[in-house]
C-alpha cells in the first residue's frame, strides 16, 4: 500500500504558486493574442485577394496539422538557427502558443461568420449599410453567439496545452511539478497536486460554458 505524503509538496507551495501564476499568464496571454491573430486571419480568409486567402489558409493548416509540442521545440531550438538570433524560452512559448490557438480561433470565427444566412447580409446591405457596418452590427453579433461554445472549448484545451511549454523550461505548473519531483522523488503527490489544480480551475469553467450555451439557446 502506497503511503501518501503531501508534506513534501506542501513545503514547496511557493513553487506551485509561481507555476500556477505562469500557467494563467501564458493561457490568458496566448488567448488574447490568439484572438487578435484569429480575427486577422479570419478576415484574411474572407479577403477578395486570392494571395491573402491562400497565405492565411497555409498558416492555419501548418499550425493545425503539426503537434504543438513539435512547434514549441521548433520555435525554441530550430528557428534561432534559421534567423541567427537565439530566442528566449518565454518568447518562444508565447509565440508558439498564440500562433497555435490563433489558427484554431480563425477557423471558429470563419465558421461562425459563414454560418450566418445570406439573407442577413442582404437585409443589412438593403438598408444601405457598408460592409463594415453590416459586419459589426448584424453579422458578428449573431456569429459570436454561435461560435461561443467552440471558442470556450478551444480555450479550455489551450489552458491545458500550456503544460507543454515545460519542455523548454518555462516554469509553469507542469514544470514545477517536475522540479518538486526531482527534489523529493514524490511524483505521485507532485503530479496529483498539479492535476487537481487544473481540474479545480477548469471544471467551473466548463460548467459555466454549458450554462451559457443553454441560456443562449433559450434567448434565440
Amino acid at each position: 500500500m502506497y503511503h501518501w505524503d503531501f508534506q513534501v509538496v506542501v513545503q514547496s507551495w511557493d513553487l506551485f504558486l509561481i507555476g500556477l501564476w505562469l500557467t494563467l499568464l501564458y493561457t490568458v496571454g496566448s488567448i488574447v493574442l490568439g484572438v487578435v491573430i484569429g480575427l486577422l486571419v479570419c478576415f484574411a480568409r474572407l479577403s477578395d485577394f486570392a494571395v491573402v486567402r491562400i497565405a492565411a489558409r497555409s498558416y492555419q493548416e501548418i499550425f493545425r496539422c503539426t503537434p504543438l509540442l513539435v512547434q514549441i521545440l521548433w520555435f525554441y531550438y530550430a528557428l534561432p538557427l534559421l534567423i541567427g538570433v537565439s530566442i528566449d524560452n518565454s518568447v518562444a512559448a508565447i509565440l508558439t502558443l498564440s500562433l497555435y490557438v490563433g489558427a484554431f480561433y480563425a477557423e471558429i470565427f470563419r465558421g461562425g461568420i459563414a454560418s450566418i444566412e445570406r439573407g442577413q447580409h442582404e437585409a443589412a446591405a438593403a438598408l444601405g449599410m457598408s460592409g463594415g457596418q453590416a459586419m459589426r452590427r448584424i453579422i458578428l453579433p449573431q456569429a459570436a453567439k454561435r461560435m461561443l461554445p467552440a471558442f470556450i472549448n478551444q480555450s479550455v484545451i489551450q489552458f491545458k496545452n500550456t503544460s507543454l511549454i515545460s519542455v523548454i523550461s518555462v516554469g509553469e505548473l507542469a514544470y514545477m511539478a517536475a522540479v518538486v519531483n526531482g527534489e523529493t522523488y514524490r511524483p505521485l503527490e507532485a503530479y496529483t497536486v498539479v492535476a487537481v489544480l487544473y481540474f479545480l480551475l477548469l471544471f467551473p469553467l466548463t460548467q459555466m460554458a454549458d450554462r451559457l450555451e443553454r441560456h443562449l439557446r433559450v434567448s434565440d
Partner: protein, 269 residues
C-alpha cells in the same frame, strides 16, 4: 415560338404620363449567371407614385431584375439611374454618380423570407437603418418607428424578438423596417410567397395601403388578382425580356401573346 411576337406592347404606348421624370430607370440591362443569360436587355422606368407589378414564369428573371434595381445583383451591362443620376459600382457616391450606399438609402427592399435581424427586437429592427445608416438620433428614430409599427398594426410587439412572431407579422415588421428609411422607392419580391395562406391577407392589406398613399413600388408577385387591383402598370417578364408592358387591365385581363395567355391561364384555372 418566335420571340418577337411577344414584344407586342410598345413601351411608348404603355408609358405613364409622367414618364419623362422617372425616379428609377434602367436601360439595356443584362445579367448572366455563368453561361445562362438571365436578363437580356431590359428597359424600364419607374415614375413617382407608380405601382409596378412584375409577373412572369418561375426562372424568368423577375427577382434578378428587381435585385438589380438596388444593386443587390450587379448587372453585367446596362445603365441604372436614380432621378437621372447614373448609379456607379462603388459603395460611395462621387461627382455626379450615385454609389450603391446612397442608392439603397433611397430604394428600400422587402424580401420573400423577411430577413429580420433575429438578435434585435422588433423596434430595434426598425430603427437600425435610420440610426446606423442615416445617423438619426435614437429617440427620433424610435418615434418614427413606433408610428410605422402602429400603421402595420404591430406597435404592441415592439419588444418582441422576430422568432416570436408569425410569418405575417414578420413581414409587416420587414415592411416597417424598409419604410423607416423613408425610401423613394420600395422593391417587394414575392413578399407573401413564404406565408401560410391565411396570413397573406394581412400583408397585402399593408401593401395596398402603401399604394393608396402614393408609395412608388415595384412588386414581383404571383398574386395576379392583387396585382390587377393595386398596380398602375404591369410588366410580364419572360425569358429575360419584358414581353408585355401596360396597364393591369391590358396585360392581365386582355393579354396578347401566346405565352402571356398561357401563363395567366394557370391562375384562372
Amino acid at each position: 415560338m418566335d420571340e418577337s411576337t411577344l414584344m407586342n406592347t410598345p413601351r411608348s404606348a404603355a408609358a405613364a404620363p409622367a414618364a419623362d421624370d422617372p425616379i428609377l430607370s434602367v436601360r439595356g440591362l443584362r445579367k448572366s449567371f455563368g453561361s445562362i443569360e438571365v436578363l437580356r436587355g431590359i428597359d424600364l422606368d419607374l415614375t413617382r407614385g407608380e405601382v409596378l407589378a412584375i409577373i412572369g414564369p418561375s426562372g424568368s428573371g423577375k427577382s434578378t431584375l428587381i435585385r438589380c434595381l438596388n444593386m443587390m445583383e450587379v448587372p453585367d451591362s446596362g445603365e441604372l439611374r436614380l432621378r437621372g443620376r447614373p448609379v456607379a459600382r462603388g459603395f460611395r457616391s462621387r461627382n455626379g454618380s450615385i454609389g450603391v450606399g446612397e442608392l439603397r438609402r433611397h430604394v428600400g427592399m422587402v424580401f420573400q423570407h423577411f430577413n429580420l435581424f433575429p438578435h434585435k427586437t422588433v423596434l430595434e429592427n426598425v430603427i437600425e437603418g435610420p440610426v446606423v445608416v442615416l445617423k438619426r438620433p435614437r429617440a427620433e428614430a424610435e418615434a418614427v418607428a413606433m408610428d410605422l409599427l402602429a400603421r402595420v398594426g404591430l406597435d404592441a410587439k415592439r419588444d418582441a424578438y422576430p422568432n416570436h412572431l408569425s410569418g405575417g407579422q414578420k413581414q409587416r415588421v420587414a415592411i416597417a423596417r424598409a419604410l423607416a428609411m423613408q425610401p423613394d422607392v420600395l422593391l417587394l419580391d414575392e413578399v407573401t410567397s413564404a406565408l401560410d395562406p391565411e396570413l397573406v391577407g394581412e400583408v397585402l392589406t399593408v401593401v395596398r395601403a402603401l399604394a393608396e398613399e402614393g408609395m412608388t413600388m415595384a412588386i414581383v408577385t404571383h398574386e395576379i388578382a392583387f396585382a390587377a387591383d393595386v398596380a398602375d402598370r404591369a410588366v410580364f417578364i419572360d425569358r429575360g425580356v419584358i414581353a408585355a408592358d401596360g396597364t393591369p387591365d391590358a396585360v392581365l385581363h386582355n393579354p396578347e401573346g401566346e405565352r402571356l395567355r398561357a401563363f395567366l391561364a394557370r391562375f384562372h384555372a
